[in-house]
């Protein structure tokens, strides 16, 4: 076996030694160099920094590939803007600049008493300007910063016209909206997916862009994990089981109630998303629209196809169906594989819910551990194989039967390559949830709309207070 670096807090202390309980992970936290105390010799600091691999020792000659350090230079039209972090105790700063490389205080021009940010204006576009900075205290200057340089440039202002309605940059596209353009058509054209229309709406703050308006279409995710300094997005994941024309109980929702709930989602602007989109969000790679929600169905009831699918199609809602493979084709209440294939063709993502729906955390009375373990392996591996055979697709997501899991089950889910695994604990999911213990909210047949709405909470802010 190849050597695997320690992850998730269970690092081995060395060959022959077990990794401790993850409390020992505290020992594995990286050691950072402390701030040097005032009065430390600069030479000692230089040595420490050199050991830390930072380079750029103070007082060292400023030539060559010196790091930019904290001084930065942003070019503009006939100007350069310089910024730097403040130095505790500094009374002022002096800036040195010149047009030739190899800048030194002896050769350069000096500007006394500058403050950040400093705009060095009246320059000539196209020429390289070089800069150094010193801090001043008690009339004495410090050693020199690293050298930075910049080339001021006129840079033409980009203009969108009917003749040239699109401008492309690495990170975004600027478009002039023309008659017939919609967020969906623009998302299809520039993002490859009309379902990403929300990206255009949310980024621009424009729900219905009219012809003549300019839009910015970001090409990379701009709200990863739904995280800002004041709030964290949490995504509700709703779970249904059976839908019935007449009955309702804990696990059975009437058709009328289901229609009402889907209409509620539609009318209030909720955006059901796929599991893959949710996975990107959890993996901190992607963003989700405001009011994103995930719709899931468990087990493989025939009513999902007969009563659920028409409503989902009406609103264009994606959903996921977690099937336990022993159930399929067994009796008139269960889905058949044909129905499942049709569900898949209509945007329902078929995923795994074990083989037999046994409680994976519980051994039977007469069961031995080894038999139990083998049964667990089968419960998790067999559905993957079946779905691959029947539907020619890989199952990536798992819903635990009864929502029950423990560390052994979670470890096995990871071993079998599931990306995410879901419980049945009522709640919504942030990006930093344990990916193998993601909560979902069961929608009972006894819920009214008010109760249904309570399961759609989107934000948490208390974690960051």
């Amino acid at each position: 076996m190849t050597r695997v670096p320690p992850r998730r807090g269970a690092a081995a202390r060395g060959p022959g030694a077990l990794g401790r309980d993850w409390g020992s992970e505290w020992l594995m936290a990286p050691v950072k160099l402390p701030l040097p105390l005032l009065g430390l010799l600069s030479g000692l600091l230089a040595t420490l920094l050199a050991l830390a691999g930072c380079g750029g020792a103070p007082g060292a000659p400023a030539g060559g590939a010196a790091p930019q350090g904290g001084l930065s230079a942003q070019p503009g039209d006939e100007q350069v803007t310089l910024t730097w972090p403040s130095v505790p105790g500094a009374e002022s700063y002096n800036l040195y600049w010149q047009l030739a490389p190899g800048i030194s205080p002896e050769s350069a021009n000096r500007v006394i008493g500058v403050r950040a940010p400093y705009v060095h204006a009246g320059l000539r576009n196209g020429l390289s300007y070089y800069y150094l900075l010193t801090a001043v205290k008690g009339g004495r200057e410090s050693a020199l910063s690293a050298v930075v340089s910049a080339i001021p440039s006129a840079g033409k202002r980009a203009v969108l016209t009917p003749e040239k309605p699109v401008l492309r940059f690495d990170e975004f596209v600027a478009v002039l909206v023309r008659p017939g353009d919609t967020p969906a058509s623009l998302a299809q054209k520039y993002l490859g997916d009309p379902g990403k229309d929300w990206v255009i709406r949310d980024f621009n703050g424009v729900a219905h862009p009219k012809p003549g308006i300019e839009l910015i279409i970001p090409l990379k995710p701009f709200d990863r994990g739904g995280l800002t300094p004041t709030r964290i997005r949490s995504i509700p994941i709703l779970t249904y089981h059976e839908i019935s024309k007449t009955e309702s109980n804990v696990l059975t929702v009437t058709e009328k109630a289901f229609k009402q709930q889907m209409k509620f989602l539609h009318d209030r602007g909720y955006r059901p998303v796929t599991l893959d989109q949710f996975y990107d969000f959890v993996a901190f790679k992607g963003a989700l629209p405001e009011k994103a929600v995930v719709l899931t169905f468990d087990d493989g009831w025939r009513s999902t196809y007969e009563l659920g699918l028409p409503v989902l199609k009406k609103y264009g809602f994606p959903a996921a169906l977690f099937v336990y493979t022993d159930f399929i084709g067994r009796g008139e209440k269960a889905l058949t594989w044909d129905m499942i294939a049709k569900l898949q063709a209509n945007g329902v993502d078929i995923q795994c819910h074990s083989k037999s729906h046994r409680d994976l955390t519980r051994m039977n009375e007469d069961e031995q551990l080894e038999t139990f373990y083998k049964a667990l392996e089968l419960e998790l591996s067999r559905p993957i194989q079946v779905l691959q055979d029947k539907l020619k697709r890989r199952c990536h997501y798992l819903a635990y039967p009864f929502g029950a899991t423990n560390r052994l089950v979670s470890a096995l889910a990871q071993k079998h390559g599931y990306r995410l695994a879901f419980t049945a604990n009522r709640g919504s999911a942030t990006f930093f949830e344990d990916p193998y213990r993601i909560d979902r909210s069961m929608i009972f047949g006894t819920f009214n709309l008010a109760k249904f709405e309570q399961n759609l909470a989107q934000h948490r802010s208390d974690e960051l207070q």
Binding site: M1, T2, V4, R8, G9, A10, P15, G16, A17, L18, G19, A29, P30, K32, L35, L38, L45, L49, A52, C54, G69, G70, S72, G76, D77, Q79, T83, P85, V87, S92, N109, V111, V114, R115, A116, P117, Y118, T134, A135, R140, E141, A143, S153, N204, H208, E214, R224, L227, T228, P229, L369, F372, F402, A404, R407, L408, F432, A450, E463, L464
Partner: protein, 389 residues
């Protein structure tokens, strides 16, 4: 995974310049080539603080697509048609909300569209440093708290670090990996190790060698060369115990019900029903909790709220049906009044107000025969009108 360079870049400027102030470096006084070019600070004042309102337009201004000589007037709350002004406005708003990473992105986009924009150039330069510094500060706090085993607080700091710098790999590593308890333990084999020996060390039971072997896709008698890293799953102490002690949870739910902590009682009963959907005791507790809340709301003269709460109670539970009928009869007139008002407002072409009245109708009487359809039609009409404007 962990980048020393990331850490070092953040610390070099402060550490370097701090050492400078200690006076160890030689004085920089020297002759100048062009004394005339030494400009006193006053001649080139740097802006002291970011502007809190949009800066005066640098050049051009207004909508880039507008061919007219004069820039269009933008009403305070309208959406600027031009991307530049919209980006600027949004960037400033986000800076106010401390959403600095988002603000930085918008300033950068603006700068790419308009490289001469001085405000954008300045804000990009300032925010770049600011987000780096803030991210690093929160990250270091997080590490310190992590070492003190204050995990909740550490998580908050790492999240704050990521909110300022989503590319902070170290903070993300803590959030995703280090702050979570593991599902397995790593073991690195040594000379002489066998699967049974490993099982004895890990589980105090060499009969569990099958676990070590099977989890790592190895045969039970597979030879283990030194330095092999095995992953050993963690076993719960009692695998025959049900994953939920239903009786205990129900007791707890009943206790909460008696204390009138209805929401908590509902949550506990809920969890039993998820585990066992046929559990009658849990359903009784739910019914009782909703019923009592509904009655309390009715006693407080909140008929609409009481009715909504009663809808959570199973029909046939005590006198819930009779109470619902009474409430509905009383509210019907109220609902009808709002409905008729909506009709009049619609006729008067006050579409928003008509919609509000029909929403209120349905809030009072969810089953009103006409309000739902009229409301849907009115909303569709409003959307079409908005698209035409």
């Amino acid at each position: 995974m962990i980048s020393r360079n990331r850490f070092c870049r953040g610390w070099v400027p402060a550490a370097l310049l701090l050492a400078f102030v200690s006076g160890c470096a030689p004085s920089q006084g020297a002759s100048r080539q062009h004394p005339a070019r030494n400009k006193p600070a006053a001649a080139e004042p740097a802006p002291a603080a970011p502007p809190s309102t949009p800066a005066p337009k640098q050049s051009g201004g207004g909508s880039q697509a507008a061919p007219a000589a004069t820039a269009p007037t933008i009403a305070p709350n309208s959406v600027p048609p031009g991307a530049l002004e919209r980006l600027r406005r949004q960037a400033i708003e986000r800076e106010k909300r401390m959403e600095l990473q988002d603000a930085l992105m918008r300033w950068r986009f603006l700068l790419q569209l308009h490289p001469q924009d001085r405000e954008a150039a300045t804000r990009v330069a300032v925010l770049r440093e600011q987000v780096k510094l803030l991210a690093e500060t929160h990250y270091r706090r997080g590490v310190s708290l992590f070492r003190k085993k204050q995990r909740e607080d550490a998580l908050r700091e790492f999240l704050l670090a990521l909110s300022y710098d989503p590319d902070h790999g170290d903070a993300l590593d803590y959030v995703r990996n280090r702050l979570k308890p593991p599902d397995w333990v790593y073991y690195t084999t040594v000379q002489g190790d066998t699967m049974k020996g490993v099982a004895l060390k890990a589980y105090q039971d060499e009969q569990k060698d099958f676990l070590a072997a099977a989890y790592n896709n190895l045969a039970r008698d597979a030879p283990l060369s030194p330095g092999t890293v095995l992953r050993l799953p963690i076993l719960e102490p009692d695998l025959r115990r049900p994953s939920m002690n239903v009786a205990e949870v129900l007791e707890k739910a009943k206790g909460l019900l008696e204390q009138e902590q209805f929401d908590l009682a509902i949550a506990e009963a809920d969890s039993v029903l998820v585990y066992d959907s046929s559990n009658a005791a849990a359903r009784d507790i739910l019914n009782a909790a909703y019923y009592r809340q509904a009655k309390a709301l009715a006693a407080q003269n909140k008929p609409v709220e009481a009715l909504a709460m009663f809808r959570n109670v199973e029909p046939g539970y005590q006198d819930a049906r009779e109470l619902v009928d009474t409430l509905q009869a009383g509210l019907k007139d109220q609902a009808e009044e709002h409905y008729k008002k909506g009709i009049q407002l619609f006729i008067d072409e006050k579409l928003d107000e008509a919609i509000a009245e029909w929403e209120e109708t349905l809030r009072i009487d969810l089953d009103h025969p006409k309000a739902a359809q009229d409301l849907e039609n009115a909303r569709e009409l409003r959307e079409r009108l908005q698209q035409l404007r």
